[in-house]
Amino acid sequence: MRLSDDEKAIRDGAEGPAVAAAMDLLIRYGEALGAEHLCDTRNVAGTMTQPSPVKAKLVGEGGWHKAFSVINLDSDDEFEIPHMRVPTCQLQQGFGEDALGIAPYPASMVELQADAESFYGSHGVNILATCTPYQVGNLPVRGEHCAWMESSAVVYANSVLGARTNCEGTASTGAASLTGKIPCWGNHRTENRYGTHLIEATVPVEGFLDWGMFGYFVGDLVQENRPVVTGKLAQPDLTDLKHFGAATASSGGVEIYHIPGITPEAPTIEAAFDGPIPEKVGYGARERRAIYEKLNSQGESADVDFILLGCPHASLDQIARTARALDGRKLNNGTELWIMTPRALRTVADRNGYTEIIRKAGGRVLTDSCPAMSKSAPEGTRVFATDSAKQAHYLPAILGIEAWFGTLEDCVDAAVTGTWRGELR
């Protein structure tokens, strides 16, 4: 890999040993990829604060300086960690203090994470604590080179915003935060951003449920490739595309898609492809039904113990709709409802009175994490229901529970009655 003079100087220690270790990791990683050079980034979204057994041990031995050196810089040495060189944010993490007494989750982990937040906060990491940084203060612009983790955020940044990021990892984002560099490979290069597959919806795709199901179909079909989707698509909003992208990155490994006329790099179908347009694959009533059944193939008992909304973290619109659906009602005795959202949006929900309406009904607005990240659902949960294709995909395997998938209204109905009555309409 070709290095500039300033990159060589950093590697040789001009900015201190921690930054040199960061550059060493980026060189090893860039060479592993076969990248030709690094590019500059001023937008990093990574993970530093989430507790794990390995991290707890390292912190015990040498504090957060050691934990960052070993995990986020992949070094054997322990360095004094300087202030982040470029704007860096923390993605979703473990549960925080607001979940104590609600989510079965060790208080020691909550404490460790609070300690991490004060260390990293003082080193310039913005504690957004969400899988949707683009909702709360980190909205990259078109063409901006980023170093992001979190598959649902990566696909949103590339596709909806036209920013450029690969699906990075803990060490590459750690190294990027101290250097402002990342290998210029994959999605950073224009030639790797054009579509490879064309999918046409012949049934209407409108609303949160249908965008999620369509995404789950598309991801399963194209796997790691780059789909271009057209057809009977209603104008989507942020919430719809947040669900669509997360679903494509769950059933497959999609990092960028295009919707001609909607997403920025595809004004037309022709512009979405660099060359001939491939033959289209159809998504019709039969495919839609099959996806619905696939997402509901992990549910047997209709007795629902737990409703999970807000995956990826809920938008204000989703919180408002949940509050309206629950207003004046009471959750079934023995059924719990959590809606996950970034803490910054919870503040607005508090202010608007949404949190109070949900709380009065017996539900909870929680932040920072989710049942999958923290491996934690209400005590004794056997059957859960969700409006998220991603959570329905992952949570049964992670927690060994049954799953139902439907609309927000199906989920609220199950929360109030304790019985799953969802069906495809």
Partner: protein, 150 residues
């Protein structure tokens, strides 16, 4: 019983040389939710290698899937002493490349032939990532000897 030796040429992803027994997965592997770093085993329920330990093996697989936590989970196998001995994978992505880098084991990808089709679990394999060559010692039974022992 005969031993067939063949070389597969590829590109060294992480330099180094290792020799050991192959563990072949025909399905892609998840890091987060897919492996347990404490025991070095595959924990994805529907996976063909569910419950199988990869520690000390040459892990041969088509590629990485799932969460961007992939590399962090494989780094943890190194820190906990449960890492594979080497890696050989068909498709290179940021997840698998960074994962191999932080696991710090000799790794080869972008091979002339698909390693998952050629290498069998139990084969003796030399991973020479400095030169980008995987040498496979396959023990193949003559047709009259019937099926390969389990």
């Amino acid at each position: 019983m005969t031993v067939e030796i063949r070389d597969i040429r590829g590109r060294g992803v992480v330099p180094g040389r290792a020799e050991g027994e192959a563990l072949v997965s025909h399905q892609t592997i998840s890091g987060w939710g897919g492996i347990d770093p404490a025991t070095g085993t595959i924990i994805e329920r529907r996976h063909e290698l569910f419950g199988v330990c990869f520690t000390g093996k040459v892990l041969v697989f088509p590629g990485a899937k799932g969460s961007s936590g992939w590399s962090g989970f494989f780094q943890a196998t190194r820190l906990l002493g449960t890492a594979p001995l080497a890696m050989v994978f068909t498709t290179l992505s940021t997840k698998s490349a960074l994962g191999a880098v932080v696991t710090r084991v000799p790794t080869i990808s972008e091979l002339a032939e698909d390693p998952v089709e050629i290498i069998h679990t139990g084969d003796r394999v030399i991973v020479d990532a400095d030169h980008g060559i995987v040498t496979v010692h396959s023990t193949s039974l003559s047709p009259s000897a019937g099926r390969r022992p389990a």
